[in-house]
Amino acid sequence: MDLPDSLRPLDRPAARRTGAVAPLSWWRSLNPRKATRLLVIYALGLVIVATTMIPVLWMVKTSFETPEFLHDLRIQFWPLKFTWQNYLAVLNNPNTLILRSTYNSLSVAFLATVLNLAITASAGYAMSRFEFRGKAVFGMYLLLFYMIPRTLMLIGMFVLLAKLHLINRHLGLVITYAIGGIPLAIWWLKGYFDAIPVEIEEQAMIDGCSRLGALWRVIVPLALPGVAAVGMIQFVDSWNEFQLALTIIQTDTLQLLPVRIVYFMGFQRTDWGPTMAFSVLVAIPAIILFGIAQRNMISGLMSGFSK
């Protein structure tokens, strides 16, 4: 799915009306029973989509609203008076440190993703292709990992990172993000490798490839889409993370976007226009990646959990 489609929620009210009305003529050709069923489904579907999307729409709408209309008791989902001034206020306000924090967030999320994939792609391959002593124990730990309370691990991690002089440094965050994503990434990648027939690899080795040669020339290209999907999920997770960033980074100029925006909002409590504009800017990369990876993400999540 490409970007424009995934951004369609922005003008959803219009799309929704045509979507509900246009097929009416087509429905008449159906029997009444089927038509009723479809009507009920669309009604329920609209309630669901309204529930999930209204806060998102409200965020976007507020970000384009002028202050005087923002504090107007008329409520509607299209700005009363459209303006870019909230975005300019965020981008021009030196207190937001928005460019600096965007760079921080991008580099931390990117490095965490690369580190995570370097570790998990090989482990996922081993979990898919080899039988070895300790495999069951290792696989079990990957599941048990999520039962460790985050705050408890964070306390131990904080002291450890302090000993390693990694507090208030991006490297500390890169490591914790990359490690935190390991278990899920290994399970998904194992699933992707399982889907590649062993015979392809055996054929390449019979044709004279070494084992690593076969891995590099045959398996890596076939697994690339799966690896990319896992990488995008890892990136979005790191981009969105809040608790670790809040705890480990203490200097404003080193802080990541999710924490910056909370601080920004802290000193202009009631100025919701710029806060929502800032929020939309933070959401955009996540929405773009969701749009690109949507199919893979959802099927990956599903296959991961239905096992």
Binding site: M59, A118, L152, V236, Q243, T247, W272, I287, F305
Partner: protein, 303 residues
């Protein structure tokens, strides 16, 4: 190993380990060690990094357990609130998520668009959606007060969140909203695994929609429902972002909406009592112990 080409046996036996060594080293150093040292710190006097971690036995636990003032009071209140929070949030997520999954599993034109719009908020950062909800809860110009007053459900606009006497309910609503799309996604994957033949057979036997749901759908979904609820209990028992940002990012920490993870974090990182914070977390973990053990047993069977 199925790829049976001749090569030295030792090298072949070692090969898999070369592939998993980075993951094992990373996990031991940065998850097992912090976990175990966190438990150890809960028995020590450590306040901040660089302090001597002196063994003090159960003193931190005693401080949490005895008395009805100070941190002991907060601990007991937070414990009860953690249970309320988890039960209400996960219960709401499950009921709504199951309904959503059933609707989105039906065949109808435009289904993929509906699915996309339902799942889209999963990808958005929790932080910005929490801020948006805080704006919707705004006492003067917020969306929620506006509609509740307009529909006659509320006489006057209300200050919903961020006060010392604020209740948990508005936050529970945010928690349910935040989590039900993912719950629906997991349940949907379970629904898709049910073979159509089962429904056809039930129809032939004269089962109506309700009977098909209770005699085909629910039994077939038992495992995935168990896993989904269990995972969500683990996640939402430990949830942090919503409760901290709405409850605590103001000038004053709103203890009225703190759960155990929040109390643990605030003790450890705001008041520099790492040992005491760790003790809160250990007790939170033990509180979930039964659930965790039950889940571990299930997963052990699955591996």
């Amino acid at each position: 190993m199925r790829l049976g080409l001749p090569r030295p046996r030792v090298q072949r036996a070692l090969l898999p380990y070369w592939f998993i060594v980075p993951a094992v080293v990373g996990l031991v150093l940065f998850s097992i060690y912090p976990f175990l040292s966190g438990i150890w710190y809960s028995f020590t006097s450590i306040g901040w990094v660089g302090d001597d971690a002196q063994f003090v036995g159960l003193r931190n636990y005693q401080q949490l357990w005895t008395g009805d003032v100070g941190v002991a009071k907060l601990f007991k209140e937070s414990f009860v609130r953690s249970i309320q929070w988890t039960v209400l949030v996960v219960g709401g997520q499950f009921l709504i998520g199951l309904g959503v999954a059933l609707v989105l599993n039906e065949r109808f034109p435009g289904r993929s668009l509906f699915r996309t719009l339902t799942m889209l908020p999963i990808a958005l950062p929790t932080v910005i959606m929490v801020l948006t909800w805080q704006w919707m809860y705004d006492p003067y110009y917020g969306l929620i007060n506006h509609y509740l007053v307009q529909w006659g459900l509320l006489d006057d606009p209300k200050i919903w969140v961020g006060q010392n006497d604020s209740t948990l309910w508005p936050l529970v609503v945010v928690g349910i909203w935040r989590g039900f799309p993912f719950m629906a996604l997991m349940l949907l994957s379970g629904l898709q695994g049910i073979p159509d033949e089962l429904y056809d057979a039930a129809k032939v036997d004269g089962a109506g929609a309700v009977a098909r749901f209770s005699h085909v759908t629910l039994p077939q979904m038992r495992t995935i429902i168990g896993i989904a609820i269990m995972l969500h209990i683990l996640w939402w028992w430990n949830h942090f972002d919503i409760l901290l940002i709405i409850g605590a990012m103001g000038q004053q920490f709103a203890y009225g909406s703190s759960t155990l993870p929040i109390l643990s974090w605030v003790e450890a990182f705001r008041w520099s009592h790492l040992g005491l914070g760790a003790a809160v977390s250990v007790l939170a973990m033990l509180g979930l112990g039964g659930v965790i053990l039950w889940n571990a047993r299930r997963e052990l069977r699955a591996v």
